[in-house]
Subunit: 333 residues, 2 copies
């Protein structure tokens, strides 16, 4: 489990390079996390104290809302102000075809090749849905590598959108003027996740109504009055509204920083990440054990054949778990 | 953990009633699963041998595709053929507002109140994304209660759509003529999940092109030639195309049954469910333990404050896990 000393040394080199902003070291560290390689843990520990300066913006919304274009323009805006930018695009790819598309889409949208913009695609494949479990770690690596602004793109309605709250300091929900989707999204209660709304493709019919509709909804919903969620109209394709969006992100950042909310959000996020990694690893250990142990293997076979009921068999297997979890304590420092 | 004998007896009564098709018993059993009540385990074990006759159809697609209407019409079609129908609507609801909307939408769409149609909404809230972990159990309860056809509605692009393959015998992907969303969906590799495509709201402009587009895509992608995925145009709102959809579902069922594929799918699903429940329960135990143990609690606090790095702290805590997982074996029969 624990890497040998020589690998630790090489990981310390990776960490050093990463802290200097080296792209190859950054890519390598992210790949270690993706593979669940224990060496990734060495890097994470090394760079930890250097993270904490970056600001993370989540951009979410349905497919076709123009998020990739919006992110490319936003990245250029931040670059123009002298900030370095990291982009993580989370791709709801199939378990079959795999692949990573969103990142490539953003690359194509960028007006010029900028060495200070680091783009990484990550597939949701392999995670239990929603965002990949290691996304918080990836954002922290970008942070430690000196990125000032980290943009995280996610697609979809439902869990993935909710998960973005656990990653981003500011959440931008992007919609298009066609009202059908949006109204349902709002009704489904997903509106609470947005710190800023963007109605993109604002040249399309219905954009004004859409903005009014969301505003009306927000006014009704806003009770404590501390942050009034702005609703912006943009046309990312020709850069319209991007300056205003960038300004509102800064305004939200100032708002969070002026209260204790930013630090509170980040504290909860760290505790949450610990739990997520623990759960993921426990599940992994469980699967490895089942593969190795004939007795567990037999149980799985009986369930597979329908001789035993899955749900009750699982609970039966774990019925004594409160005492066996003692190992957790004995192995903690 | 294990319920006392008197509760077991009352659960046997619930099971008996459920097997007779009693709706209250069915609702109660589902609620037990939702709450993670150990009594649910008793019911699951009791009714297990009576499940296996139902056929499960998953209906998925983006919001605004008219899935609720489609499901209502489809339910009526199956009822007209004398089949009993169960509907499970999985709602991507917010962790704040909660609630259950899709099921209500379907109810409103039904032309008449039919006691043989059982509708249940389930929130994705509390699950780690995608479908709720207990959904396979809920489908099995409906199966044991004598439902011939079980329709499962899910929303969204990404994990939830992929998860539906783990629940449904036949997966129907529903799209609307507006091409933007669909093309991206296809490109993202989500096409592999569909056994049948439906282009709903086919009166809108672009429906024919959409059908052609998907067909072209499928012809390219189809290699083994065993099941040619049909692409249907429907107008669920006035029932157009529903008979054909119902026929194609039956055709796919016949196809799966004529080979060993149906049984293979179901076997994998059962094994998968065992693992999912085990993982969920392990995570639950872990959280309970952290709440109770000052030492673990302290670790979480240190991570929360940023003194320790979350990812490496989690791995460090679990570094001796291969031996402690012995408990799993000692508690299995």
């Amino acid at each position: 489990m624990r890497p040998p000393p020589s690998l630790v040394i090489s990981m310390l080199q990776v960490s050093d390079q990463l802290l200097k902003g080296d792209k190859r070291a950054l890519s390598k560290a992210i790949s270690l996390l993706e593979r669940g390689d224990p060496q990734g843990s060495v890097v994470m520990r090394e760079v930890h104290s250097h993270a904490g300066c970056a600001y993370t913006v989540g951009i979410t919304g349905p497919t076709g809302a123009g998020k990739s274009t919006l992110i490319a323009r936003l990245a250029e805006d931040f670059r123009g102000k002298g900030s370095s930018v990291g982009i993580v695009a989370v791709d709801p790819s199939s378990p079959y075809s795999g692949g990573a598309l969103l990142g490539d889409r953003i690359r194509m949208e960028l007006h010029y090749l900028d060495p200070e913009v680091f783009i990484r695609s990550m597939a949701t494949r392999g995670s239990h849905g929603g965002l990949p479990r290691i996304i918080k770690g990836v954002v922290r690596l970008l942070d430690a590598a000196g990125k000032d602004i980290i943009l995280v793109e996610t697609v979809g309605v439902g869990q993935t959108e909710l998960d973005i709250m656990g990653v981003a300091d500011t959440v931008v929900v992007t919609l298009v003027p066609e009202a059908g989707d949006a109204i349902q999204t709002l009704k489904a209660g997903l509106m609470e996740i947005a710190d800023i709304y963007v109605v993109n493709k604002a040249d399309r019919p219905g954009a004004d109504q859409m903005v009014s509709h969301i505003n009306a909804f927000l006014t009704t919903g806003d009770s404590d009055g501390s942050w009034v969620t702005p609703v912006l109209a943009t046309q990312a394709i020709d850069g319209q509204g991007i300056t205003e969006l960038s300004k509102q992100i800064q305004r939200h950042r100032d708002f969070l920083s002026s209260t204790s909310r930013l630090e509170e959000r980040r504290r909860e996020r760290r505790a949450q990440e610990l739990l997520e990694v623990l759960e993921e690893e426990l599940g992994q250990k469980l699967r490895e054990r089942i593969d190795k142990e004939p007795r567990l293997n037999k149980l799985v076979e009986q369930v597979r054949r329908g001789e035993l009921e899955p749900y009750s068999s699982a609970l039966e297997l774990l019925k004594d778990v409160s005492s066996p979890l003692d190992w957790l304590l004995s192995s903690s420092r």
